[in-house]
Structures are given as C-alpha cells and as structure tokens.
C-alpha cells in the first residue's frame, strides 16, 4: 500500500523566504552596518552638503583678493586662514567642493554615456561588432589619459571641463568592459533566451532585462570611478591643465601653495587632505556598495 497524496485542490502555500530573501531584505540593513559604506557615505554626504551650501553662500567671495590680510593664520574670521593673495581659504575650499563634484559628475557622466552603449552593443550585436568595438576600446584604454588631457588643453585651453572631458573619455573603456561582461552574463541567461522565444526584440531585452540587472554593478563602478576622477582633476589642475586661475580647484590650490610652502605649509595641507578625503570617501562608498550588492549579484548568475 503506497501513500497516494492527491494534488491539493487549494494551491500550495508559498514557501517561506529562503536564505536569499534574507540576503535581499537585509541588503539595506547591511548597508547601514557596513563600515565602508557608512564612512564613505558620510564623507560623500559631507562633500555634497558643502558644495550645495557653496552654491548659495560662502563666508567670503572665494575670488576676492585682500593683500592686507595675505597669509593670515587660522582665526575665527578665517578658520583656514588666507592665501598669499588674501583670499579666504575656507571659501575657496568650499567652492572647490563644487568643482570636485562637477568634475566627478562630468567625467563619470561621459564615461557612462560613452561606455555603456558601447558595452551593450558589443555584448548584443554579434562577434564582428564585438571585436571591432572592443579593439577600439583597447586603443583608447592604451592611450594615456594625461596625454589626452594635455592635448585637449593645448587645443582648447585649460579648463575644468576640458580636463573632465579628457578624463571621461579615458574612462569610457572601463565602463565599456564592465558593461559588456555583465551584459553578456545577463544575455546568456535562460530568462533572456525565453524572452527571445516570445519575441522580445533586442532593444526591449536591453531595457527590460539587461539594464535593470547590471544597474548595481554600474553604480559600484561609477562610485569607484568618481574617486579616480576627483584625483585626476586635482592632478591636472595641479599641473595647470585643468581648472585655471583663479577658480579654486583643490588641486590648483595645492599648486599655488607651493610658492609659499616655507611660509605657510598649511596652505598646501588643507586642500591636499580634502582631496584625499574625498577620494577615500567615494572609494569606500563604492566598496561598501559592492560588498552589499555582491552576494545578490552572485546569486543572479
């Protein structure tokens, strides 16, 4: 006598959430507990807030020179002192935060706008297109970003934007590759195959399946690239190829501070430390995001 269990008339109750759901539901909670994400997030938030404030107000006009108060030490009226032209360092630092965010946003924006479509095309349009695009990407990748920035600056004159365009273009290969590899994974999955079987067109597959599923990876990449862009802008401005006088890019401020290094070393220290902090902040945030999103990404193989 065997146990014959008839198919239930009522649909079976749903299984309780498995470990994966624990992972999902916990994702936000984990983000809040992840030290990288917390610290990075705090730093980034601080930079953003400062930049927002600087949009409407700084204690002094960052560009206003006042020779009577040149190289003033830290005081209540000038918390970070003044530089050799009498400009309030705090105001310049705040203004610089705007440039930091702008440069990051422009670079990453260009890199994403250029890299993601290239990566998607390479992943979805067949081997010939893939080879062509990826070799072109390799070429750009091999070309030193610095050289590109110099060329651009020479041609169009140094400015924040030209520097950022150069950096952005230089980072297109990164996004192209990351997009391509994760898009390939999605496209190779069974649900995309099933979608093709019910007649989803390629563009529809991209928008309905590929992009939503690679979003997380791109966000992590963008965050990490943001930190690199900040560093790059600072470097270029230091070399005189980026933000020109008298705009207070932090990198530029470091360069200017070189002239008066013996008399007031702190002038170089403050912008330098803030550059480091901002880079660290975005880096940590990116790491934290990756830690949190990775297990889920792994399970969506």
């Amino acid at each position: 006598m065997t146990v014959q269990v008839a198919e239930p008339l009522q649909p079976e109750p749903l299984a309780e959430a498995e470990v994966e759901q624990r992972l999902q539901a916990g994702a936000w909670r984990r983000l809040l507990h992840d030290p990288s994400a917390l610290i990075g997030g705090a730093i980034v938030a601080a930079v953003v807030r400062v930049a927002l404030v600087a949009l409407v107000w700084t204690p002094y006009d960052p560009l206003a020179q006042d020779y009577t108060h040149a190289l003033a030490p830290m005081s209540w009226s000038h918390p970070f002192g003044t530089d050799e032209y009498g400009r309030d360092v705090l105001s310049r630092l705040m203004e610089g935060a705007k440039i930091v965010l702008l440069s990051g946003a422009v670079s990453v924006g260009i890199a994403v706008a250029g890299g993601v479509p290239i990566g998607l095309l390479a992943a979805m349009r067949g081997r010939v297109v893939d080879d062509l695009l990826m070799r072109a990407v390799d070429l750009v990748y091999a070309f030193p970003a610095l050289l590109a920035a110099i060329v651009l600056a020479a041609a169009l004159g140094a400015s924040t934007v030209t520097a950022m365009v150069a950096i952005g273009i230089a980072y297109i290969p990164v996004f192209a590759r990351v997009t391509r590899s994760s898009a390939l994974q999605v496209v190779g999955s069974e649900y995309v195959l099933a979608a093709r079987a019910y007649r989803r067109s390629k563009p529809a597959i991209v928008f309905r399946h590929v992009l939503p599923n690679i979003r997380a990876i791109l966000i992590v990449q963008a965050s990490l690239l943001f930190s690199l862009a900040i560093l790059a802008e600072a470097g270029l401005s230091y070399l005189g190829l980026g933000t020109p006088d008298p705009e207070p890019s932090w990198g530029r401020m470091v360069q200017e501070a070189q002239d008066t290094l013996s008399r007031d070393p702190m002038l170089a220290f403050w912008p330098g430390i803030f550059i480091a902090l901002a880079v660290l902040g975005f880096n940590l945030l990116g790491d934290g995001l990756r830690d949190v999103l990775d297990p889920r990404l792994r399970s969506t193989k």
């Binding site: 198919e7 239930p8 649909p11 079976e12 109750p13 749903l14 299984a15 959430a17 498995e18 994966e20 759901q21 999902q24 081997r127 999955s189 069974e190 649900y191 195959l193 099933a194 979608a195 093709r196 079987a197 019910y198 007649r199 989803r200 067109s201 529809a204 309905r208 399946h209 939503p212 599923n213 399970s299 969506t300 193989k301």
Partner: protein, 274 residues
C-alpha cells in the same frame, strides 16, 4: 487558444537534415569546430509527447534552440506546420513565436531576478502584442499552475525551485501556445518536487491539448512523460521509436549502454548480486 487549422498529418515541428557547426575564433587554419548536430531529422506530430534523450555533448540543447528558431542551422531546414522557419528574418516568425514556447532547466536563471511575477508571466503577452486583460490572464495562469494569487506580487528569490519552474511554465503558457518545449525542465529539482511539476505538466497537456517536446538526460522521466523517444548521441540520432519499444528492446549499442547504466532501486552496484 490559437485557432489555426492545419492538415492533420503535417508535423507541427520538423527538422530536416539539420546540422549545426560552431566555429571558434581564429583563422580557418587554427579555428576549432564543434559539430553539435549532424544531419538530424525528426518530426513532432501534433498532440504527441516526444522525448529527446541525450547526455552532455549530445547536442540536445542545440536542437532545442534550432527548433525554437533561436539559432540558425548551418545546413538543413526547420519547419513549423510545414512552413520553413529557418533562415527567415525575425519579423516573419510571429506565428512560430506565439505557438511554440519553452521552459528551461535552471530555476535560478529561468526568471529575471528583478521582475515581479505578474510582470514576468505577462511579458509574452506584451511582447507578442496579444490584446486582452493581462491581469486576468495572469491570475488564470497562476491558478492553472497551482500557485496562489499573491504570488503575483513576489520576486523570484521569494520562491522555491519548484515554484519558480511553475512560474516559468505559466509564462510559457501565457500566449496560448500549441507546443511546449521543456529543456531539462525538471532536472534541477528535488525528486518530490519533480513529481509535482511533472504531474502539473501532464495535467496542462491534457487540459490545453498541448504538444510536448521533452528534452532530458533522465531516462525515467522521459519514459514517464513521452509516448515516443528519440535518442541523441554526439549530435546524431541513433535510435527513435515508441517509448516502450525503445526501453524494452533497444537496438543501438548506445541506447543499450544508456539503459544498462541507469541505477535502479534495489540493483546492487559493483558487487555480486545477492
């Protein structure tokens, strides 16, 4: 239900002398070639349950993709209700796409992890531009596959493997297909869940008059589900015929070896039989 009327004896799906060769990268001298399928011909009659048995390297997954017109054969033809579909541009394949649907193997990747069930199940309706009340259809399908209505709002990771396969089946049935192709659809499931899903499939086949093409390496499952069997080995059909005949009197050495290798409950392994 699709209302197309076809001559009774035209096979609903057919492969004629189909070969598929995959070429690796490199010049013609250094490139590696994989002969996934060689000169395969088979017919799927309307209303039957055809089993395709093959192990790894047999070419069964390739055959599935060719029958679904997701890939082109290197040579030979694929026909749907008598009309050639291989080599045709995508825009001419509307009828095929609506009538032949597939359920794949891996419950982990058969559903888009970010899509809610109601969207996932109704995707074919949108893609194929089928009018009507999609919401109602989703409910209808959830009932048909034995899932509760509130499953519609959940995401794949909230379900077990067996439930995900049910959702995949619901999705496949959404456009009212005539043919259901199951590519190792239960292989990744536990035995007890497998039984449930197989029972479900049988019920749906009876209820909707479906034609089933069941691809698997699992001989017991094929025997249970299919009335006719085709045995694939290294890209070629080595034997085909009614299920019982193949299982009781296999002719080809490979089929015989395959059947002999299947472990059976109570059959001792590696010791003298007690």
């Amino acid at each position: 239900m699709t209302a197309a009327v076809h001559a009774v004896d035209v096979p609903v799906l057919e492969a004629r002398n189909v070969s598929k060769v995959y070429r690796g990268r490199g010049s013609s001298r250094t490139r590696s070639e994989v002969h996934a399928l060689t000169n395969v011909s088979l017919e799927v009659q309307r209303g039957e349950s055809l089993g395709i048995v093959g192990e790894s390297g047999s070419g069964k997954s390739t055959l599935a993709r060719l029958l679904l017109a997701l890939e082109e054969p290197t040579s030979g033809e694929i026909r749907f209700t008598g009309d050639v579909v291989s080599g045709r541009p995508e825009r001419e394949l509307a009828e095929l796409r609506r009538s032949v649907q597939v359920v794949f193997q891996d419950p982990m990747s058969s559903l888009d992890p970010r899509m809610r069930t109601r969207i996932a199940i109704s995707e074919p309706l949108r893609a194929l531009r089928i009018p009507g009340d999609h919401e109602a259809r989703v409910h209808e399908l959830l009932d048909a596959v034995g899932l509760p209505r509130d499953a519609a709002d959940k995401v794949p990771h909230e379900f077990s493997g067996g439930q995900r396969q049910r959702i995949a089946i619901a999705r496949a049935l959404a456009p009212g297909p005539e043919v259901l192709l199951a590519d190792e659809a239960v292989s990744a499931l536990d035995v007890s869940v497998r039984a449930q899903v197989l029972n479900l499939l049988n019920r749906l086949i009876d209820e909707f008059g479906l034609t089933l093409v069941f691809i698997s390496h699992d001989l017991s499952v094929i025997r249970w589900m299919c009335s006719r069997v085709v045995v694939l080995y290294r890209g070629e059909i080595v034997e085909s015929g009614p299920t019982e005949q193949i299982y009781e009197h296999p002719q080809h050495p490979y089929t015989q070896a395959l059947l002999a290798a299947v472990p059976r409950i109570g059959k001792p392994i590696g010791r003298s039989a007690t």
